[in-house]
């Protein structure tokens, strides 16, 4: 029997049979890009097997091995750069190891970093334990303001600490040997972690509390007696946080001449557009639809989720994560499905389901399988989400005085960005079609940015200078926003 450990997810697969790494990835539910179907032709299933580069479909699992999945973390070369080229290890506090944390509203991820090389040795993640207090940032803020701040703070600190302890245990390092822990997150998550009331985020003008990088004693936040330090990067605006700054760092867009559009799609879509000279940032209320949330058959990208839909001989075909029976549909599948529905003329320009449906009125539904369908309301959710993001892109470009064609590359961060088919995103207008062919996946760039800040004090304090360069725009305050938003909620028919 051989055990395959996949990085960065940490997933493990035990197998008795002699299978290829690609098959192992599929069995473990890792959506590996393999357009040629495992024939060794396209080179898209490149992985690192025990550190050596190879094609997953051409490599057999013969013994215990560690496979670094590159498509999950980097269909984008940029991230791979950040991951594998030399990083400077010059942290605010030296130690045997360092930890990078990314606190998301839904998921918390922690990376164990080698104290000498800065290499990621292990990744652990967990659901944000504040989940019972509401799925989105706003409900967490409201809970915090109604006297539950201490509870929320306690929960998230405990959860982060558990991840750190697990990492240290696995890596056989004492928690007191940790030098630096960097924490990024959206402003609400960061403030709640630090025990600072998010009341500034509940009412206008939504001013951020942390406007410069700070270092604090680790012992103030965790039960540890050591000189360890906590690196706290600043926020860009009330709803654009240090996680977005992390993305800016990890993508390297701040040091390049070419125009980069960075989109971090989560429940909120944060975006930064610019280059080494100037940058502009905004936040859009994209909602959870693009992550499969709030949709009739929506689910996370786990086993049983339809992750891709395409047309074969004029009929919709789909793939399911884990090759099991379809139980629902995840973000990448939803974007594909909407694109296919447009191509088949099932959706009109206004997003109305107009043929091949059952049900009536707002309950019209289009079925992909016996169990999985999209309703009219689901399509509306998608329209609002994609309209918000596309409007943000258009208005940021306008702010910088450039055309969409002048954008050199688009980096989609977050898990969703790694799995989503760029053609489908452009087809439905989530990303303006002008940008097709320029889209890359950036993986968990926020986490990678957190890593840079944990390892290198210069990077941590660079965020202060980046802040001065990034101009935040409040989309809703731009008079044309409403019109641009409404226009981009619509689709273009074939």
């Amino acid at each position: 029997m051989a055990v395959v450990t996949f990085l960065p997810s940490g997933k493990k697969l035990e197998t008795e049979q002699e299978i290829t790494v690609l098959q192992a990835e599929q069995l473990a539910g890792i959506p590996q890009d393999a357009p040629c179907g495992g024939n060794g032709k396209c080179g898209k299933c490149r992985v690192l097997a025990d550190g050596r580069e190879c094609l997953a479909c051409r490599t057999k699992v013969r013994k215990d091995m560690t496979v670094t999945v590159l498509s999950e973390i980097s269909r984008a070369s940029i991230l791979a750069e950040g991951m594998h080229t030399g990083v400077t290890v010059r942290p605010i506090q030296e130690g045997a190891c360092h930890i990078a944390v990314d606190i998301g509203t839904t998921t918390v991820v922690a990376y164990f970093l080698d104290g000498k090389t800065g290499e990621i040795l292990e990744t652990q993640s967990t659901l944000n334990p504040q989940f019972p207090y509401g799925a989105d940032v706003i409900s967490r803020i409201q809970a915090a303001l109604s006297g539950k701040l201490e509870e929320l703070t306690g929960l998230i600190r405990e959860s982060v600490w558990n991840l750190i302890r697990k990492l240290c245990e696995d890596q056989q390092k004492s928690v007191s040997s940790i030098g630096t822990v960097a924490i990024v997150g959206n402003p609400a998550m960061q403030q709640i972690f630090l025990g600072v009331s998010p009341k500034n985020l509940a009412a206008p003008p939504f001013a951020p509390v942390f406007t410069e990088a700070q270092e604090r004693p680790l012992s103030e936040y965790f039960p540890v007696k050591s000189p360890g330090k906590l690196a706290v990067p600043p926020n860009i605006a009330g709803y654009v946080g240090s996680d977005t700054l992390g993305c800016v760092l990890a993508t390297g867009m701040y040091r390049e001449e070419k125009m980069t559009l960075m989109i971090d799609i989560g429940t909120n879509g944060e975006m930064v557009l610019g280059n080494s000279e100037r940058m502009t940032a905004c936040s859009t209320a994209a909602g959870p639809a693009l992550e499969g949330g709030r949709l009739s058959c929506g689910m996370r990208g786990s086993e049983g989720a339809i992750d891709h839909v395409w047309l074969e001989n004029g009929h919709p075909s789909y793939s399911v994560i884990g090759n099991t029976e379809a139980q629902g549909i995840c973000g990448s599948g939803i974007i594909d499905a909407a694109a296919v529905m447009l191509d088949l003329g099932i959706l009109n320009r206004r997003g109305r389901i107009q043929k091949d449906y059952s049900g009536e009125g707002k309950d019209r539904r289009y079925s992909l399988t016996d169990r999985v369908f999209l309703t009219q309301e689901d399509i509306r959710e998608i329209q609002m989400a994609k309209g918000a993001i596309a409007a943000g892109v258009v208005l940021m470009a306008k702010q910088l005085g450039i055309t969409l064609e002048e954008i050199d590359q688009v980096i989609l961060c977050g898990a969703f960005g790694s799995y989503m088919k760029p053609e489908s995103a452009c087809r439905i207008g989530l990303i303006p079609p002008e940008l097709q062919g320029k889209i890359k996946a950036g993986g968990n760039a926020a986490g990678m940015g957190s890593r840079e800040m944990a390892l290198d004090s210069e990077k941590l304090y660079l965020t202060d200078r980046l802040l001065k360069k990034i101009q935040f725009i409040e989309l809703a305050s731009i008079p044309e926003f409403q019109r641009v938003y409404a226009l981009h909620m619509m689709f273009t028919e074939e």
């Binding site: 509940a202 206008p204 997003g351």
Partner: protein
């Protein structure tokens, strides 16, 4: 001019046709401006119906509102003095601590299309300003909009401010927006609540008639 075609173009959100026809009205010296206005209003009303049926959604409403505003801007010079605002005046705004104005603007376009003269106080409007405006301008119908849950408190405070000013019996207050519900309406102490712009127009039209401000 084919006013049926104009009505249909408005209902179909055919911006180019609507605006071209408006320009035609102006090129003809404003002849038939009242009929053109009525056709747009009928088209808007159809948009509202299509929204309630699920055929249209919020993006279409916003767009319809945009077209309506543009159309009215074109024919405004010819409209003056035709007495098209036959339902009287109404105050509309997004309440304090809430900066959302898309929903409010949709309702504004629908109310205007429905024959109201809307005094739009904007967003993040404190209760005192609403009360003061109602008093100074002698306006009896107040429509309060909000998207955040926080807006419910501001709506309640606004109703309270009318009570404190001794004016609660003289005004009709309707609240609307995402967080508003039957229960919320009761807690706020408003007279009515709306889940769609169509309902707001319907309720306010009835009030205008009750209050005798409709011409």
């Amino acid at each position: 001019m084919d006013y049926k075609e104009l009505e249909k173009a408005m209902a179909d959100l055919d911006e180019d046709t609507v605006l071209d026809m408006m320009k035609e009205v102006m090129n003809n010296g404003g002849e038939g401006v009242q009929e053109a206005m009525d056709a747009c209003q009928k088209g808007m009303s159809e948009v509202g119906d299509l929204f309630e049926k699920g055929e249209y959604f919020v993006g279409d409403l916003i767009f319809a509102g945009e077209i309506m505003v543009e159309a009215m801007d074109i024919i405004k010079p010819a409209l003056a003095g035709t007495g098209s605002k036959k339902l009287g005046r109404i105050i509309l705004c997004t309440v304090k601590d809430d900066l959302h104005d898309i929903g409010k603007n949709i309702v504004k376009a629908m109310l205007e299309a429905g024959g109201f003269e809307v005094l739009d106080l904007g967003i993040d409007v404190p209760a005192e300003k609403i009360v003061e405006t109602a008093k100074n301008e002698n306006i009896k119908i107040i429509a309060l909009s909000g998207v955040l849950t926080l807006a419910l408190d501001s709506m309640k405070n606004t109703v309270q401010a009318f009570k404190d000013a001794g004016m609660r019996d003289q005004v009709k207050i309707i609240v609307g927006g995402n967080p508003v519900s039957e229960d919320a309406c009761k807690a706020i102490g408003a007279d009515e609540w709306a889940y769609s712009p169509q309902k707001t127009v319907k309720v306010c039209t009835e009030w205008a008639k009750e209050l005798g401000q409709a011409q």
